[in-house]
Symmetry: C2
Subunit: 159 residues, 2 copies
């Protein structure tokens, strides 16, 4: 089942594995474009409404911040890995507003891993994602599980 | 602080409040467009790669499903309410693939609420979101807290 074109398989994501990706600049036009499609609340649609809100400026939808983080993860590591998707998130925190002009980086930290008993060629990886701005402030954190193809199906976990 | 143009304030979201919104059809072109921007994994980019994956067809990014659900929530209730954003999610499960052509509905269920002690004009609402497809299968669930302006600042919770 192993595909030699991937750099990372399940076995490579051992506890303590850390990588950081980005930055990407969050443009005002992209904030408004995302909000018009998916989250048309006033504080995501105009600088004026953003300034009048708890956010203090034109603020990206939390789903936009998550999606931009996903893109950084795809470009940085997921598309170099034998990724098989994710069953979900254990938690997601939007800690600070992401405002127009902010520069975001994404950090992936592996918290643990285990084989998937029902599918011998698949393993699960428990990760924490951190999204940081240009002031090194955490703007979003995620804890999730992701599925990756195993380099060697059916063997015990490398960790 | 009360704005008479809103239909729903914090006090209106009492435990057991349920509403359902949609449907929206998930078009193949929209799946690919979202994936190109935010989640360019092969199974989100082509029918062929989707069929070869665990998803069994061209599958929407989980972030796309969440964003589409947010849009249903905005159109159905959030933009009729004194919404102030969300501090995060307690959990999110992607339970089934969302494939091209699927029709999604979103259900909001209020699990509980409490005032925000630090801001007397703001209250928190604990909600469960369910996203269902045209076969009434749950494809995604979310548990989260959201902030809403109070109709009457500083009074005890209505519930």
């Amino acid at each position: 089942m192993s595909d030699p074109t991937y750099e990372f398989y399940w076995e490579d994501f051992t506890t303590g594995f850390v990588r950081e990706f980005g930055p990407v600049t969050v443009e005002a036009a992209a904030i408004v474009d995302f909000a018009r499609q998916f989250d048309p609340q006033p504080f995501h649609l105009s600088e004026e409404a953003g300034r009048a809100s708890l956010f203090g400026g034109l603020a990206a939808s939390g789903w936009h911040t998550a999606s931009l983080t996903m893109r950084l993860m795809c470009d940085g590591i997921i598309n170099k890995s034998a990724s098989l998707g994710s069953p979900g998130l254990e938690g997601l925190k939007w800690l600070k507003p992401v405002l127009a002009g902010d520069q975001l980086r994404a950090r992936m930290i592996v918290l643990g891993s285990r084989p998937m008993n029902s599918k011998p060629h698949v393993g699960l990886v428990h990760t924490r994602w951190e999204t940081l701005n240009q002031r090194d402030e955490l703007v979003m954190t995620i804890e999730s599980w992701a599925m990756f193809r195993r380099r060697t199906p059916g063997t015990p976990p490398a960790a």
